[in-house]
Symmetry: C2
Subunit: 223 residues, 2 copies
DNA sequence: AGTTCATTTACGGTTTTCCGTAAAAAAAAT
DNA sequence: ATTTTTTTTACGGAAAACCGTAAATGAACT
């Protein structure tokens, strides 16, 4: 079994349970942090001391508070960790259940497992750890009932669409978004191109109008 | 100390910790459910057997799954429980930190404590339980750094505004919303009244337009 | 260089929002 | 009952979204 595991989870009501679970798996060296930045420090230190972590279990969203943070969420944390320790195994443990987000983590960050927090997470987290240890990867638990948008959609929705939706949700009108894009050098930035892209998004998500579209995007956690 | 406590929390990773905390407080009879409906059943049964619960600790949001549910969230649960057992003490334990929501729970449901899930929740939950047992009420923990909208705003935003925003977010245009209101007998339902109300909301929340308004409402958890 | 194809931009007409003013209706006060 | 005040509704013009079509640009290929 894994020897040295790092947990990045801000809610103590959850981290407590994860620690318990790991102890039950006879993992001896369990470390826990409440901030992403602290996780990064621990990873660095462990590498410097030549005693690297075998496994990182991380939440996705972390509450902001008085402390200044460089890494504000699990995504950023994992990306940063993999840069300095690409071989580390990673499990994301989060309440987020939108498949496009989950898939992007598998594809972009190459995480080993994603466990959706739910009514039987403890068992599932255990299972994920075991399974990774046995050499498996791309584990998604639970297997059923995931809010799905088709694979295709995930590919088609890019950074451009996200920035577009974000600006729209901030109350900017098409014209202002166009100027904003020109300022940032984002292409295309013509009014009608932006309009056309919004139309694509609207038909794709079956939104009646911009208001509806933003509501859906918020619901899906896209923005 | 309290003798009999009911926990309503869907995430096992959290309920585990709550149970642990209660055990440390020497509470002997701890019961736990993952669904609001089950909580209601337990409350009813305990009353029928003349061994009522002293305290209910409930989450606000519960994941939906295959099971059909009458009560879908903590708010509904607490309202239903208080109808048949008005004297029960209640603690809400949730990640929600918007003050208008918290205040509405204190004002409408008369909960005894609200503990926001965070980095020191275990201690805070303990503190809340102790404090209620000592006769205090209206306890809000942690005390700092709560996202605030002024008290006034909470009063001014009513059910009418919520339904209006909800319909708008579903992509209905003003005209359709008016018809919808007429069908449901909601007043006022003239086009221009609805428009005017939207204007109030927009100036209140400093929204540039409807899209912006819906984005803000989603962010604040209003809809 | 020329052709084809796809992408980006432009244009115009219709609908809806946006915003101010005013009339009508309802409620409250005298 | 009448006046005053508030609420609701109506109206109208300007701005923006909405939606289809067409022109311009650019990339890819011959």
């Amino acid at each position: 079994m894994f020897k040295k595991v790092l947990i990045a989870e801000d809610l103590d009501s959850i981290s407590q349970t994860i620690i318990q679970t790991l102890e039950n798996l006879s993992i001896t060296d369990i470390q826990h942090v409440k901030y992403c930045d602290d996780a990064m420090l621990k990873i660095k230190k462990s590498l410097a001391e030549n005693e690297p972590f075998d496994l990182l279990i991380s939440d996705l969203s972390f509450k902001q508070d008085h402390r200044e943070s460089k890494l504000v969420n699990g995504e950023e944390l994992i990306a940063a960790v993999k840069k300095i320790q690409p071989t580390i195994k990673t499990i994301v443990f989060s309440i987020e259940d939108k498949s496009f987000k989950i898939n992007s983590l598998f594809n972009n960050l190459e995480i080993d497992a994603y466990v959706i927090k739910g009514r039987n997470s403890i068992k599932e987290l255990e299972k994920a750890i075991q399974s990774i240890y046995n050499g498996n990867s791309r584990i998604l638990l639970p297997e059923t009932n995931i809010n799905t948008i088709t694979e295709k959609s995930i590919i088609e929705i890019e950074a451009y669409d996200i920035s577009l939706l974000k600006l729209l949700s901030k109350g900017l009108i098409i014209n202002e978004i166009a100027s904003e894009f020109k300022k940032s050098g984002i292409l295309p930035n013509g009014n009608s191109s932006i309009e056309k892209r919004l139309n694509k998004l609207k038909t794709y998500f079956k939104a009646n109008n911009n208001v509806h579209l933003i509501a859906l995007a918020k619901d899906m956690g896209l923005i």
